[in-house]
Amino acid sequence: MQINRRTALLGAAAIGVAGTRHARAAKNYGPGVTDTEIKIGQTMPYSGNASAYGVAGRTQAAFFRMINDQGGINGRKINFISLDDGYSPPKTVELTRQLVERDQVLLMFYSLGTQTNTAIHKYMNQKKVPQLFVATGASKWGNPKAYPWTMGWSPDYHTEGAIHARAILEAVPDAKIGILRQNDDMGNDYLDGIKEGLGADGWKRVVADATYEVTDPTVDSQILQLRNAGVNAFLNVSTPKFAAQAIKKAAEIGWKPKHHLMSVSASVGAVLRPAGFENAQGIVTAQYAKDVSDPAWANAPDYKEWKAFMDKWNPTINPFEGSSVTGYASAVTLVHVLTQCGDDLTRENVMKQAASMHQLAIPMLLPGIKLNTSPTDYYPIQSVQLARFETDHWVLFGELQSRDVA
């Protein structure tokens, strides 16, 4: 057991005040932890542009209420403080500082957004506070050498881009590839993955790389550019609203390329239904979590458990909004890590446990997907499976695919 100066000082102070603390020397607590409570912080866009993702935070709050109702983690209740940063980095910085310095949380969990997490990346690592399972697919979170206190969760955009690129090369031998992507970190990250997946020869097949800004009202003009370039394999790296517009516009102008859609926008309820199922037939995406609109899962034990949780603890959320599944599965992952910590609830041990997941199965992820981490591998989920949209749901096909990051 490792006792640093801070905990030793805290312990000494506690002995001075209470006099009884030394009797429990086996317990080792970091900030935010007592015999009865673990304090966890989060920033989440409950308002503003990205508020659709707020569903994840609400689902996690409901999940921790359920865990507390069942007795908590090793007898400690979770005190989950999730604050609204409106997806605005300066606000994220302010709220994170408040959570770390005033509320003294043990760790930050599943804070959402690439720019927002980037804004606190250095701060969290200087302060040595776990920035755990950040809710963004950027590839930069898995860098334990430079940032040992930050870890991602979902498959990163780089991995996904590479897998889509390889799939296109296989499926369309004479591919003329066109890319539509958001002009930001996410789009660039994805593009790097696509480049890697295509290789130098494959990259020559890219005939158009169109970008849009989040402020653009529509992507109509970009879709016309892609069709005009003769694209027959379309990699759609756009966020939900723009993805729906692209699917609809492509159908309107009678353009039918092989269409690959990034997982962020693969929600049946939030994207494909508004875009029109008839326009979405045959689109391919990559999944790592179970699509709840797929009747194939109706009898899976983890689906039933999730559904029961949603009905009882989270009834105000539409279960078909995608983020409720990922929010749930990530919360299960955190509970696993905290349970593993036992009575050694220091920030150091949290990171140590988070970095020693071995073949961990988490409910609501696709069968066969296991979480693996090590002190040099900070990417918990790295496998996805391709799925094709048929009638009104995704149908999985092919093998699980991974991209290994050493």
Partner: protein, 290 residues
């Protein structure tokens, strides 16, 4: 060549959207001398009302009419309740108030209807006019409705006593009052009309960009650009400005600077116009006697 024509057609459609929003902005500016930052969110909220009515089973046109009426009443109500007490307040207080309205409507819509996008039905069939994917009936419809609204507004402001009274109330409240114009109610009427125009714009835009609480945020910026380019005090100019911005943005984006700088381009156009011709391309320079 085909591509060029297509980009112009797509530009005209987005231009029509900007023009619609610009019209609402001009409406409030002409009748109250202010720029309403909440115009877009009010339009979005009205569109949600229409969506809720259609979702509840009302036929499209009845929902359309009801929404325009409700929006008119809502605009009137906001002016009476929220802005009336601020009639003599400094401009900054009003700006703060507009921004507050913006975030209130945005958050309310999100709270009531959630943030996931919704499909909004279009009164126009999703058919091609020429059968070559160039112009859809939907696009043509948006342009047509915008032009009709423009015509009605022009007639209203230029040829009716009420329109004249509203313009007078906005430009010189004291003189208007002395002439027997009920200035305060003219302002309220302006708000009602602007909200109604906004509702129509929202319902035209929603089938194209999909309905969500942030539907108007991006569009409003381009709407401003359109209104400023054409002249914020001139309905005809605002509509022309909207079309100009829409088409230029597409052409410049496709051929010259790439898609990344489209918004920047729109803003540069605004700055350029304001520098060279502050009243806008079609605007008349108004000299106020002090």
């Amino acid at each position: 060549m085909d591509f060029f024509v297509q980009q112009i057609a797509a530009g005209l459609t987005s231009g029509a959207i900007y023009a619609c929003v610009a019209l609402g902005l001009v409406m409030i500016y002409v009748s109250t001398d202010h720029i309403n930052f909440a115009q877009g969110e009010m339009a979005m909220f009205a569109t949600y009302l229409a969506w809720a009515m259609i979702d509840a089973g009302l036929p499209y046109w009845i929902a359309f009419g009801l929404t325009v009426a409700v929006a008119f009443a809502g605009g009137l109500f906001i002016q009476r309740v929220v802005l009336k007490p601020l009639e003599n307040a400094p401009v900054l207080a009003l700006v703060v108030c507009f921004i507050a309205l913006l975030s209130i409507f945005n958050a309310l819509a999100g709270m009531i209807w959630s943030y996931t996008i919704k499909q909004f039905p279009s009164p126009f069939p999703a058919r091609d006019v020429f059968g070559n994917g160039l112009v859809s009936v939907q696009q043509l419809g948006v342009v047509a409705v915008t032009l009709v609204m423009l015509g009605l507004l022009t007639v209203f402001f230029r040829y009716t006593t009420l329109g004249l009274a509203m313009r007078a109330a906005a430009q010189n409240a004291t003189s208007a009052r002395l002439m027997g114009v009920r200035v305060s109610w003219m302002l309220a009427l302006g708000w009602g009309l602007a909200a109604a125009i906004g509702a129509i714009a929202g319902m035209l835009v929603a089938p194209i960009v999909f309905l969500d609480p942030n539907m108007m945020t991006g569009i409003l910026v381009y709407g401003f650009a359109g209104a400023l380019v054409g002249g914020i005090g001139n309905p005809l100019g605002a509509v022309a400005g909207g079309f100009i911005v829409g088409v230029l943005e597409n052409l410049v984006g496709s051929y010259v600077i790439g898609n990344e700088l489209k918004l920047t381009f729109a803003l540069i156009v605004v700055v350029g116009v304001l520098l060279l011709k502050p009243a806008g391309i079609f605007g008349r320079v108004i000299v106020k006697r002090v």
